[in-house]
Symmetry: C5
Subunit: 352 residues, 5 copies
């Protein structure tokens, strides 16, 4: 039962529901440790898990950040050191899991998704972030090496507010960084939607449909990442665990409200994107109407004319009109008359 689940496709998945983990696996694990309280601060690179033990036993807040999940044995050792349940470690590795929270009394595990929208890339990148925190420590796991939490680190170094609080406020600070980032991603999507909206009005093409579809898929992907976070933050805020101090609750509530804001925008975007398909389809119908109008106009005017001139192309020996001196001119009169009638009819139908 201890093997790590690798649900769905191993390779990068074009549907965007599940994400590649090949790259993540190759970066070397980097472990950094920050130890602080209101007055004291220490930061170091960890090479051997054993280095963490004195910090675990001290009363100061210890934040261990693990970049990349490549070295499973190292992380398992860290887990043993902090008595983390094997199932929780499995969850750390299971990068496709939806955000969830598990309260194990002596520590709380939660995971969530870091989103990033790299312009040259096609899809939103989803990174699995796990956080385990107890009364005096917090361990964070990032799927990829990155500078996600640099602003938090900076704030700790500069004796920011975080220094005065325990790991529960640090949890808030970390999640806040991620949720802030969601707003940036939303902003990018809003631009995409506006661009597409304009494109649909001016000149939609087969490409537009694929763009709408791509947006729709991204919305499904974002939804999967953001919706469950709401539940996680709600459990965290309402938790009766002694690990969450009352003073932190208002911050968590604020975080929860921001997540609701993100979800609200997401739902609005979904509504808009689904409306786009109607616009695209009706654009197609409208242009079809335009094309058919042109065809009908031309065909309806010229087909009768062609018939009329055809009559006088017949070779009957007895055709009195042919011999008539003004016959040719009379036919021209008739032709002009037919065209005029047709045009009047089309105008009455508001086709021209």
């Amino acid at each position: 039962m201890s093997r790590h689940r690798r649900p769905f496709s191993e390779k990068g998945s074009p549907t965007g529901i599940v994400r590649s983990e090949t790259d993540a696996g190759h970066a070397p694990v980097r472990i950094t440790l920050i130890d602080y309280d209101a007055t004291h601060f220490q930061e170091r690179q960890v090479d051997h898990i054993a280095e963490c033990i004195p910090f675990r036993d001290s009363e100061t807040v210890t934040w261990i950040n693990v970049d990349s999940l490549a070295d499973a044995s190292l992380i398992e050792e860290l887990g043993r050191c902090f008595s983390i349940h094997p199932l929780i470690l499995e969850d750390v590795f299971n990068t496709k899991q939806r955000p969830k929270l598990v309260d194990l009394d002596s520590y709380i595990y939660l995971n969530l998704k870091m989103l990033s929208f790299i312009e040259r890339d096609t899809d939103v990148k989803v990174e699995h972030i796990s956080i385990i925190f107890g009364s005096n420590y917090l361990i964070s796991f990032q799927e990829d090496v990155g500078d996600t939490f640099d602003t938090v680190r900076e704030s700790i170094r500069k004796e920011g507010k975080i220094r005065k609080f325990g790991p529960d406020y640090l949890v808030y600070a970390l999640i806040d960084t991620i949720v802030d980032n969601y707003f940036t991603v939303m902003e990018k999507f809003e631009e995409k939607i506006e661009d597409l909206d304009e494109e649909l009005v001016i000149h939609s093409s087969q490409q537009s449909l694929h763009r709408i579809n791509w947006l729709k898929k991204q919305m499904i992907l974002l939804r999967k990442s953001v919706w469950p976070l709401r539940e996680v933050l709600n459990s965290l805020e309402r938790s009766e665990s002694p690990l969450i101090k009352e003073a932190t609750t208002i911050y968590l509530r604020d975080l929860y409200d921001h997540t609701i804001d993100v979800i609200d925008s997401l739902e609005s975007f979904r509504d808009m994107v689904s409306g786009m398909i109607d616009i695209y389809l009706s654009g197609l119908s409208y242009r079809m109407n335009e094309i058919m109008k042109v065809l009908t106009l031309i065909a309806t005017i010229f087909i009768p004319l062609t018939f009329i001139v055809g009559i006088y192309g017949m070779n009957f020996h007895v055709m009195p009109e042919l011999a008539w001196e003004y016959g040719y001119y009379a036919v021209w009169m008739i032709l002009i008359g037919v065209v005029a009638t047709m045009l009047l009819y089309f105008r009455s139908r508001a086709w021209i």
Copy 2:
């Protein structure tokens, strides 16, 4: 963590989900103070926050109204003066936040949206309104300078009912003004929907679709502003906070019911607008049918005729009909016969 979030696009957003805050930022902050109880009334312009302190400590009701959020430092000073939590001040500035209520025991914070529908404008204008009230004071923040609350001010000056109650009734009066305004906006939308409905019946064009789409987006925007208010008012009414006196509850309940009325109409409008796309699309299909009928009629009648006259345009040396004296007239008979048959067929199909 204390910087103010500016989620989404900085500039005005055409999708209508998020709103420009550039204009709001430039108007100078104007602070007015009204102090009253059943017998006493005082109104003044505030230039320095310090002027508010004596009122804060008196037992009379003090209403401080802040127009424009341009001067953050002034508002932060006011916050310190009334011991407002920094997160709450952040919410005051976060003009894109959904309506919410935070009960902090000694005071309650809530925010909601003022809507205005200026005919010459294209989109509904959404203004962020924040209200903080304690046992003897109420601070309201308006994103833009405006005369929104003038009717309430007038009522206080004229020794209206408000004078006999505490800040909780003032909260009711302020929200009531805003909800009353929602009805006006709904009325405007109802007119727009009626106009569009008529347009669709008489002469829909590509423009109609864009109007439907615009209405749909506005509905999404209104929904985002009005729905959460329901929850806010419900929390306010059911609140067990001593700040809400029992006598005020019935007024808050009434306000809640009016909000439900607005939401009901909004949902009905949504249903109607979404039905309009079907009408528009079926209108397109119907006109396509009409166009195709005309083309088919003309082509089906004249193409066979052209073929017949084509036959006798052939130059074969041996073509007995050509030499026949009545050949030409016989062809005319055949042509008329074909047309008559076609017309009868079309009539049987109810096409003409």
Copy 3:
């Protein structure tokens, strides 16, 4: 705050969401009073509110019915006489409000909608009915003058069951009359839906779409009137107010079940009506297919024929076929051969 809200449009609204109140305003107010208990019965026309006071203080059940809301001052006087809260009186006048129930301990206020479907009219007429009842009185307000409650009056006169119960049973009897009427309206709609369903099968036209759309709007309107009643009746039945005797609960439960039946049918109608648009649209597509088939058949048969006869209409000096004695007859063979091939092809495609 005491002015009466007049949300939405003042004049009659074609969308059917909001209704005209102009007519209602002009009929003179008519107040009738019925006083009864198991043994005693009295009925009179009330000209001055003061006449009601002795009845208010007696222990017999007093039912005051107010027809038309035209004379606000009279109704306000009645309100003062029975100590009705001003907000409740506001609700009596607010004819666009959704059905709601307010329990004020000494009396209960509730409002609901009377529906009527006059054949020559286009839209369902919605009449606002308000009921206020205490331990020994019931006041009912009808927006329009009408004979809605005549059956109830008759039953009281004839010493019906109502005489043995208090005002709570009278409430039941009044609402029951209205809900019974809902079934009649539903029946009318069922007929309309059946007619339209048949019309769609036999010969749908652009008119059919407008009829479907009209039905859809009426459904939205009915939904707004009937759904909230469910909640009202549920609150009434589960109310722990001493005004509702236990013996009446089973009647209210029965009423609740009937309302659920109406809602069920309404939802079924909605489902049916929304399915109609698909049928209408596919009918359009189907007929388009038929039209195109005819065009394609004719064009595909005659265009090649016209080409063939065109060939022998050319005036080249050297065209051996023209001189051939059987050339003309050979061309006819070719023409017939082409037509036969085409027809076989079309038959193989099941087009003819």
Copy 4:
């Protein structure tokens, strides 16, 4: 208030929401009585209600089954004999009511729908079944004369399990018979859906749409009959009434689970049927495309050819090509060249 409601149309309703009651009304009422306990068994036809009284007072289980609701007075007499509340009797007659359960302490009333799907008939037949049971009796009312409960009767006669239990287990046995029958109806519908699904793939016609629509309506009808039963069974199982013995609870739970299975299948069928409309519509579009392709191919090939031969049909005195000896053959070369080019073009577009 005691008249029986006859909501909606009196005659058979083609929409299938409401059902004819004319036939039901004419069959003569037939009352059968079965009295049993573990050791004793008696079965008789009842002609006068008075015959039931001794059984009512005995401790053995008495099951009175009433076939047809034609004779209201007889049923009302039965009701009086067992002290049934008049409202409950009204519910027995109200054949259009949705399934519901009323617990009146000394007895429980519940009603549900018997469904039958007669192949030669068009619509599902819905029969209203009412069951009233107390501590030692059970009265069942069937709208129509039928052999619905024969298997239960047989089981009682043969000293089946039912004999050892009270009326609560008999209730289970009766409902179980009806729910079993739902599975048969579902099976029939599944066949219909499969047939239609195949028809849509092979050769859909305008008829297919009407069949889809008919299925959709039947689904709405079944939903109305089956969904509320879930609630009824849930109330029955969780009831704290002493009329339901604990040993019966597991059977009722099983019944509840079977109802959920029926509802699940119903929802799946709904999903499938709603998907069918998309298939039908896209089938229409696809065939339209095919038709248009043929038309376009023929027209695009022959219209230019006809033009070319038209050129050399002109009668200009000076047309050098006409006099050229190989002119005619050159034109044929051109014609063949044009056709070849066109065909290559169409092949490149994958049209042929």
Copy 5:
């Protein structure tokens, strides 16, 4: 009442909602018994139910696995031996039942669905798995003979973690095997969806629609199998039954979370598949537009040309142009002029 329900069609059902049971019925029943505790392990084939009795009474954990449901009498004997309620045995045989859990104090019954997706097969295969477990035994029933639980057996043989726990952990291990398998099925579906998505972009055909429809049906089928499992696992985790030890709860919670992950992906797939129909339909419309454009281009250019040359094919005796020396060349100029004009017009409309 004791006969086994065979709801819906007896034979294999193409809609995929209900599954064939014919094959299942023919395989001979195979019963294996594994008895273990932390130190002890025994595995044997059971030929007579009586062999199980000593194990039933011992304190070690006994796992009896029954492959195939063909021999009802054998299974009923086993049921009697372990005092299983007849209704529960009925559930074991009712292979179409949705996953459910029944807690009977001395043992718990639950069933769920094993899914398998065999590439050469068309539909997902659904196997009914039932599990009954008490304080010291677990009986599992598999509808088909298979090696589903081999990994669990292997783990027990190898003194895995399971050996240290009771039947509750064995339940976890068995369900975990099945849920793990769900991920494999999901992966297969993801591939199918990706393939189809690509197909729709590159070259959709009538086949694509049938593939979309097939996917949609499979989604309905999977939903029916997986959704109720969520509820089952939730009941199991929250159960207060002494049969579930507290140490197992965290494992069950984890299982629940994995099921939610499966459901999440399923819902995302549903969203994607339903979006595909829009893409398919708009693809049809788009190609129709392309076809019509070609037809319109050709017809609009050549029909007027044909008319012009038709004029000079007339045989009037008096037609001055014919005699003009440069007449023929002038006509060519006109023809080229018309084509140029048309092409310019089409270019201005962006059609070519």
